[in-house]
Symmetry: C2
Subunit: 316 residues, 2 copies
């Protein structure tokens, strides 16, 4: 397939059929307090309640279940220190195939344990991108496994888009949908799903000010490489690929940048008022909705992307 | 109405129709990890995601919305230091009527603020049951308000039963339902709802060992007054009334008692694995399911009763 191929709306609907039996149709949660605070009806799509604790399992499942039997037999592999690691291992366990995840030394113990709990094999490497890529290349050469990239892959993007598709099936008349942006896979899939359902939905991204390459790229009209980011939202440090940049430029209205304090405030609200355990990345879209300029439409959808965090170090 | 009147299944269905527009139909959450741990399919009815953060709003709404206009105009009142306080104020705000809550000095600031945030008036008193009852009697005499008891009231019990009714409408073939027991209102309503849907469902209660008057009462075959209880599940310190004892004796298979450590373990599981913020009382039924003797049926329902707690003092 061409290097910059993006999934179509039909690909997202096909992904939904493919993965439905293996992941949750997550609840859409509402809060009158939130509606009063924002002056709009807000619908939280709770991917923190997803299997593996994050939307990532959707893309991983769609990619793994779409492999031929021959490909599948050789397994899958990725380098990741985040939610993609455990979610890929989970997806591989669903199909009963091998999974290797290259993880940097010093990755959180909980993330390493999660991969192993799903039967994945962890290969440690030095904590640099170059080392991660080199070790992954060796694993792929040794095993013949298929690499499943965490976001720069049409199958993964299509899977990620199924969360927004479910949201719009349940709440069809949203004026706006907002999702966090890191590498851009979730936001690309969200945008393609939203505009497949209704071309009138405004799609927004939310990004930490400390890792705002997507915002700067859309402003510049070309993909701007980020410097090393710093944010409490450790799931949002990745950078756009050419593919996700194209999708965002075509579909995304704008990106709101939010500070770590604003992310923590949204996180606290979600814990205290909606009783949801949400990681900083998962609260970023709500922080973006609060900060977004201009009047809100009557109804807005927010993708709560994940809930995996160390409860011993809550930032409040 | 007779002193020991209990709601019928029809009363619970009527309560459901009455309150539906004013509270959430809460999600039913599942977890494959939990299914594997227990060897059964477990369905968590998430009343921590209810308005006001607890099932209590169901009973309060049913009672408040069932008042005549003349009664309603004089308002409602209760003494409470727990979830009933805020939920009654919330229900009164829905009908636009006055609400007074007598609260002991030293009640958690968050609970007092919650009552006020819904427009309720807080009257402080000394932290003894005698003082609470005396001050409430004065409030009732002054205002002509109707007392809404937190559990010893058929309207409140009927409202509480709507959570189980929703659960069984969504998951009709449960072999067992378990709910926490304090004053017994939730468990009474749960049992009447369950047996109205399907006489074959086993209904169980879960109670802290440090406040186990319901367990001892069922064993003794008569209502046993508790001594002052001590448990981390501060929502489960109330005692059965004659009315709720009768309901439990007629409908409840047995009560499992659980230690505070077992409650904390269930709470931690719910935070970490299902991403739900749950107060100790709200995790007690899951602890009870884990500890319950004998083989489990193929499918079990668990009432997660509430999620209001101070996030600054999590017990893990």
């Amino acid at each position: 397939m061409p290097a910059l191929d993006l999934p179509s709306f039909d690909d997202i609907r096909e992904a939904q059929r493919r993965i439905a039996a293996h992941c949750h149709r997550t609840p859409v949660v509402t809060s009158r307090t939130l509606d009063e605070l924002t002056g709009t009806e807000v619908f939280l799509k709770c991917e923190n309640l997803q299997r593996g604790g994050a939307f990532k399992v959707r893309g991983a499942l769609n990619a793994v279940l779409g492999l031929t039997d021959e490909q599948a037999a050789r397994g899958v592999a990725a380098h990741s220190s985040g939610n993609h690691a455990a979610c890929l291992a989970l997806a591989a366990s669903v199909r009963g195939i091998p999974c290797v995840v290259v993880m940097p030394r010093g990755a959180p113990r909980a993330k390493v344990d999660a991969v192993r709990s799903y039967g994945g094999r962890v290969v440690e490497c030095e904590p640099t991108l170059a080392a991660r890529e080199k070790v992954l290349a060796e694993v792929l050469a040794d095993t013949g496994a298929t690499e499943i990239h965490p976001y720069d892959d049409p199958r993964v993007i299509a899977g990620a888009g199924t969360a927004c598709l479910e949201l719009l099936e349940e709440i069809p008349d949203l004026g706006l949908v907002i999702a966090p942006v890191s590498g851009g896979g979730l936001l690309s899939g969200t945008a393609i799903a939203a505009h497949g359902c209704d071309t009138g939905v405004e799609v927004w991204g939310a990004e930490p000010t400390g890792a705002d390459d997507a915002h700067r790229s859309l402003v510049a009209g070309r993909r701007v490489a980020g410097s090393a980011g710093h944010t409490i939202a450790d799931g949002l440090l990745a950078e756009l690929s050419d593919r996700t940049f194209l999708a965002l430029r075509a579909h995304v209205h704008d990106i709101v940048t939010v500070t770590d304090d604003e992310i923590i405030e949204a996180m606290r609200f979600l814990f205290e008022r909606t009783k949801l355990v949400v990681e900083p990345s998962g609260a970023t879209a709500l922080a973006g909705l609060w900060k977004r300029p201009g009047p809100l439409p009557e109804r807005a959808g927010v993708i709560i992307s994940g809930g995996n965090l160390d409860l011993g170090s809550l930032p409040f």
